[in-house]
Symmetry: C2
Subunit: 160 residues, 2 copies
DNA sequence: CGATATTGAATAGTATGCTGATCATCAGTA
DNA sequence: TACTGATGATCAGCATACTATTCAATATCG
């Protein structure tokens, strides 16, 4: 029987586990208290101001029900606000606060450092090839998870 | 600003997300109710009968506190039993039940199918290269997570 | 216009995963 | 043997992630 720790599923989980640990370490060292999802959500709101939660979920490939809690915590930390969407009273228009913008700018170097740290065992060429292969595998299987990646509408702001 | 969805951290999470979804789908189709961790733990107990929980955690690179709950559920499902370890009264010697062995044998084809499905977008050569690169990156960063992979002692059974 | 389907959001419930702490037991040593 | 440190296991607490459901509001079609 083949060693289970060499199977794709195990490697996928392990790589993600390391990525999260490295992210936490770098971010905490820099004095910030943001998780990987929280950072991803915050960055997405910065890119697409006024987007609703379902669009946000699709833009970063998270489940909608997970995003509800993530936004809760970002709001609680004062980094994001839920505004009324005049076009659709069901939807929340997400906007960054000044504190949110400041956090996002400040945390970027740590995030970049984490991205490098999780690939520290690879040469630059290997790292590039790994990213290419992961992207290809992920693209092909995008629809297989409940939370596929969905491009955010180009002109999100206009809809808010 | 670079697209965050091309960063290693995002790709790591996304690949793992897909791996879990595919695992669940295949396993459920075959009529089994086991999560990825539960399968990994069950398989490890099968390979190293009599191992304690801390050794199990190290063998599959999970946190010890997580394994407590996983073993709880495996015991509840009647697939594993916690026996007294005569040499160390703190430790539980984990043993598979007959039902556990049966489940493990029956689930294997689904697990293998899932491993293939999550790489369906890659050629055989690409899949092999992806695995090699992930293994290399993971090995280099093994100690960076709280739950590094630890080889189980060769003669576990003798210690029980 | 009205019935139906769809969609944004939230909730309940379960299972990971982690940090940090506690407790019992074991191992080594002065 | 008493002390000290390490180790196995668990627990409390928090934050993902998922399934399934519910509710309100919107869209669509006859």
């Amino acid at each position: 029987m083949k060693d289970p720790t060499t199977k794709p599923g195990h490697l996928a989980r392990r790589f993600q586990q390391i990525a999260v640990a490295v992210f936490h370490a770098e971010v905490e060292d820099a004095g910030y208290d943001l998780t990987p999802v929280q950072y991803a959500a915050l960055a997405a709101v910065g890119t697409h101001p006024g987007m609703d939660q379902a669009t946000l979920a699709g833009a970063i490939a998270y489940d909608r029900t997970t995003i509800t809690g993530v936004v809760d915590r970002l709001v609680q930390k004062g980094l994001v606000v839920r505004k009324q969407n005049s076009r659709d009273r069901r939807a929340h228009a997400l906007e960054m606060t000044e504190a949110g913008r400041k956090s996002l700018r400040g945390i970027e170097p740590s995030v970049e450092a984490a991205q490098r740290a999780m690939l520290c065992g690879l040469t630059a060429a290997e790292a590039k090839e790994l990213m290419r292969l992961m992207r290809k595998a992920i693209d092909a299987a995008n629809e297989l998870s409940r939370a596929p990646l969905r491009e955010a509408p180009v002109a999100m702001a206009k809809k808010a």
